[in-house]
Amino acid sequence: MAFLSIERVSKYFPSQEGATGRAGRQETFCVFRDVDLRIEKGEFVTLIGHSGCGKSTLLNIVAGFEQASSGGVILDGKEVTSPGLDRMVVFQSFALMPWLSAAENVRLAVRAAHPTWASGQVGTEAQKYLDMMGLKGAEQKKPAFLSGGMRQRVGLARAFAVQPKVLLLDEPFAQIDALTRGVIQEELVRMWSETQHTVFMVTHDVDEAILLSDRIALMTNGPEARLTESFAVDIPRPRTRETMIDTDTYTRLRNHILHFLMRGSHVFSGMQ
């Protein structure tokens, strides 16, 4: 069995008409249906889809924030039912506590992961991850006084500091300007290759997905979105944006994904 296994997961929401519909019959709206995805230990898998296809909902189900309507998620042999320290999320909105400094944000997570540690040990451990993400000198700043890029570095440091079984990245670079985004993506690649974490990322940025992933899964447009295909990104590592864009594989994969995204909803929803 795979390390992280998403098995026939479907999500339904009560639809608008359902609220005012005939008595006794709850109409539902299907976001996605029968999503199957298996992620091996140490693998970096990215899910690509249009906005609104439910990919963030799927990530929230893996995180335990939401419940699947049917199917389930199994991590390391145990079913996921609620959020936990074995799955850390890196949020699109950063989700840093604005009243805490960068260091305090990371320390909060370290302390939660190691409740028995003395505060000195917590501080050392937090500092290790802050340094890794290139946050030296910015530790005492509040998030409001950091750029978007720096904030997400704190978000990543916090997630890595817990040493979760799986990192869940929810469009982590969507709110960061394009130039900084490239730099942080390459830092994430470096960090990931050092720590060999299992990563599940959700994005609609094609270049980002190719640069970072071992495998890419594609999701059709909602409603009733399906996960229709997944394929390996066979570009050798270490990758950098610069060397990657000259490879034939990159061009082929990029075109394939873009075609899918442009025609996706029509062609692939017909397959069901």
Partner: protein
């Protein structure tokens, strides 16, 4: 010359102060001019009329035998100079105590501030606790909301007769009035702040498996702090408004009651002085509150 923009900005920063100063001088000038009395004209009055006026104390005779208005007899609104004299007089004996009602202004300020602090602080503790409970539970919020809506618009002074009857102690009743005045805005704002915490902060708390207490102390309260402070600020204002009539009605010594004492004395300069003291006490307390508030608010 080299830094004209800096120069201009310095100039601009001084402008409001300058305007405030001009307004103050203008106010004092208008006040002075409006309250100045023309010199007494003895012409056209019979000796008998003059004698009556002198007998009533309206006019006095100086050493040269000329009649003039009696400066000690109140008529109309006194000018700013009279208020300044009264202020100097009061502060020169700020801590005297004669009998039960004649206490120096220093004592009166102390009584009012103590009364205010006791009512406001106890109400704040109760209101934040209640607000957090209501904010955390949708059910509790819906269950308690009708009561809060009903109690909120009731003037805290309306409770006074009932409080006097039940508490049977005017000192404690005054504190209770301040308590009631500062309760509801904080309850409502805390509940709002707690129930509207950004979802991702709570998601982080649940990812980190924080216990109920840790979640409350490390995430919920700090996140809701700006809303709680906003509520406390409204409460603060309404408590400050309530403390003056509470003192007047209950006859509790304090700066609020001072205005009433001076009214009973028909000492108009004293009333004006008391009003200014109430304002000054309010400003000072407010400044202290703002300093506290800055410690716990954050920028997103």
């Amino acid at each position: 010359m080299e830094t004209p923009s800096l120069d201009r900005s310095l100039h601009a920063s001084r402008q409001p102060l300058l305007i405030s100063l001009c307004l103050l001088i203008l106010t004092l000038l208008v006040w002075q001019l409006a309250t100045v009395r023309p010199a007494f004209q003895a012409q056209g009055l019979t000796a008998e009329q003059l004698q009556t006026l002198e007998f009533n104390g309206d006019i006095v005779r100086n050493s040269a035998g000329q009649y003039a208005y009696n400066p000690d007899k109140t008529r109309g609104i006194p000018g700013p100079w009279a208020v300044v004299r009264k202020t100097v007089e009061e502060f020169s004996q700020a801590f005297h105590k004669h009998g039960t009602n004649d206490h120096g202004i220093g004592h009166l300020i102390r009584y009012t501030v103590t009364r205010f602090a006791a009512g406001f602080l106890s109400a704040s503790v109760v209101a934040v606790c209640l607000g957090v409970l209501i904010g955390l539970s949708r059910t509790l919020y819906q269950a308690l909301n009708p009561f809060i809506q009903l109690l909120k618009p009731i003037s805290p002074l309306a409770w006074m007769p009932l409080l006097l009857y039940t508490v049977q102690n005017p000192t404690l009743t005054a504190v209770c009035v301040v308590f009631l005045a500062s309760l509801w805005p904080t309850v409502a704002n805390t509940a709002f702040g707690v129930s509207n915490i950004r979802k991702d902060y709570l998601q982080v708390a649940s990812l980190l498996q924080l216990s109920w207490w840790q979640r409350l102390l490390r995430v919920v309260l700090p996140a809701a702090a700006p809303a709680i402070i906003a509520g406390l600020r409204i409460s603060f204002g309404s408590a400050l408004v309530a403390v003056v009539p509470a003192e007047m009605l209950l006859g509790e010594l304090g700066v609020g009651y001072l205005t009433w004492i001076e009214w009973n004395n028909l000492h108009i300069a004293g009333i004006l002085f008391a009003i200014l003291v109430v304002g000054a006490v309010g400003v000072t307390l407010d400044a202290g509150f703002n300093r506290l508030a800055r410690l716990v608010t954050y920028t997103e």
